[in-house]
């Protein structure tokens, strides 16, 4: 039973943490529940479909269907996270105002909610399909009794959900004015980690070169299969033994999202400064 719980927990964890981050990043935005809930439901439906057609997907594209699907879903998530962060940078003024309003318990604001919905959907789809296949496998083999199986599954899902909730609650303790800066950083690293995973799948499909097998090996310090390892894997893209291309994808994504974020002038940053005509120029461009 515990073995089942741990395997399910490992599968559910990533999706759960991503939902926690997305919920915090969209705090106070009207309609976020519908979009994020829609993402979960859509992801679950997709997970069921992927599990159902696992054989067909696996055989597709001369046997690289799984890799291409995983990489595609991951790249979609990275693109949506990038969109979210760059949108946030462009609308920093409104977001700050909104955050202040939130402090006064007025829930208003907007956000590219479709992006966040898709991020959640893609996470649930990826992790969910594996969970479905695993649980189905346990259910049809006789080694565990149905009660043990159900308890294990529930325990695993509950554990994963609890960690997601804990992350969300932890983020809510951050003063609302600073919250979106923190979630921005988290989204940035989340995106870079997902891009690194996508690169791994493309190596597996023999479409990208590995560029070196183990750039470093910290598995003796923190194994990627352990629960803390898995948590860091999701949050900051921790890899115990990355391939070269994964490191490259990670850094490239940090740069591709981070640079536009920095380059887009955030007027609220400038208000306190008396110098900097360059920034004024960009402000005019923005306004």
């Amino acid at each position: 039973m515990l073995a089942i719980a741990i395997i399910v927990l490992r599968e559910v964890l990533e999706a759960s943490l991503i939902i926690g981050i997305v919920l915090a990043a969209s705090l106070g935005v009207v309609g976020r529940g519908a979009w994020i809930g829609g993402g979960v439901i859509g992801g679950l439906a997709g997970a069921g479909a992927v599990a159902l057609f696992a054989a067909a997907i696996s055989d597709a594209f001369s046997g690289t269907g799984q890799e291409l699907l995983n990489a595609g879903v991951l790249i979609l998530a990275v693109a949506m996270l990038a969109w979210h962060n760059i949108w946030m940078a462009r609308h920093a003024n409104e977001v700050t105002r909104e955050a202040n309003a939130l402090g006064k318990a007025v829930a208003t604001g907007q956000r590219p909610l479709i992006a966040l919905g898709l991020v959640v959907g893609s996470a649930v789809l990826r992790e969910g399909s594996e969970t479905v296949l695993f649980v189905y496998g346990v259910a049809t083999s006789s080694s565990e009794t149905p009660i043990e199986m159900i308890l294990g599954g529930i325990l695993g899902i509950a554990g994963g959900a609890a960690l997601g909730v804990a992350l969300y609650m932890g983020l809510l303790r951050i003063p609302v004015r600073r919250l979106f800066a923190v979630t921005g950083w988290m989204v940035l690293f989340l995106a870079a980690g997902l891009a690194s995973q996508a690169a791994n799948f493309l190596v597996q499909a023999d479409l990208l070169p590995a560029l070196g097998q183990d750039i470093w090996d910290t598995s003796f310090l923190l194994s990627e299969t352990s629960i803390p390892g898995r948590i860091l894997h999701t949050l900051i893209g921790y890899a115990a033994r990355p391939q070269g291309i994964q490191v490259l994808a990670f850094i490239a994504t940090l740069a591709a999202i981070g640079l536009p974020m920095w380059l887009i002038v955030r007027p609220s940053d400038n208000r306190g400064r008396t110098h900097g005509t360059r920034q004024d120029g960009k402000l005019a461009y923005k306004g």
Binding site: A3, I7, A54, A55, S58, D59, G63, Q66, E67, E130, L133, F134, Y136, G137, V138, T140, S141, N200, V203, Q204, D206, A210, Q213, S219, E224, T225, A240, R241, Q243
Partner: protein
């Protein structure tokens, strides 16, 4: 039209296929039955690319996973997958079935 397509296809396969045929792609097979891999120790030559076919004779899905080889791939129940691996440095590379990690274990030994 059809014959033209065919000749293009033939020409393409000659161009694309020739080097790999010349290199004589190595193929190995692992079989999963009752959540156990066979063979559990698979010897392959070091320094060469090879294909590993994993055949799942169980009715339930398994996930072939190897941290050493950087691979994770679902094998549907009654299905098979092919992984392109190597060239490997001499050494031992562990793999396991993520859905049955207690029983489904093995290693590839590159010599």
């Amino acid at each position: 039209m059809r014959s033209r397509l065919l000749s293009i296809a033939l020409a393409l396969s000659a161009v694309l296929g020739a080097p790999s045929l010349a290199a004589d792609p190595l193929q190995y097979t692992l079989t999963i039955k009752d959540h156990v891999f066979a063979p559990t120790d698979l010897e392959v030559p070091a320094g060469q690319k090879f294909e590993l076919r994993v055949v799942n004779q169980d009715k339930t899905a398994e996930e072939f996973e190897s941290k050493d080889l950087h691979r994770e791939k679902i094998i549907p129940g009654g299905g098979a997958i092919t992984l392109v691996l190597g060239p490997l440095r001499p050494g031992s590379y562990e793999f396991f079935g993520e859905f049955n990690p207690k029983t489904a274990r093995g290693k590839i030994i590159a010599r």
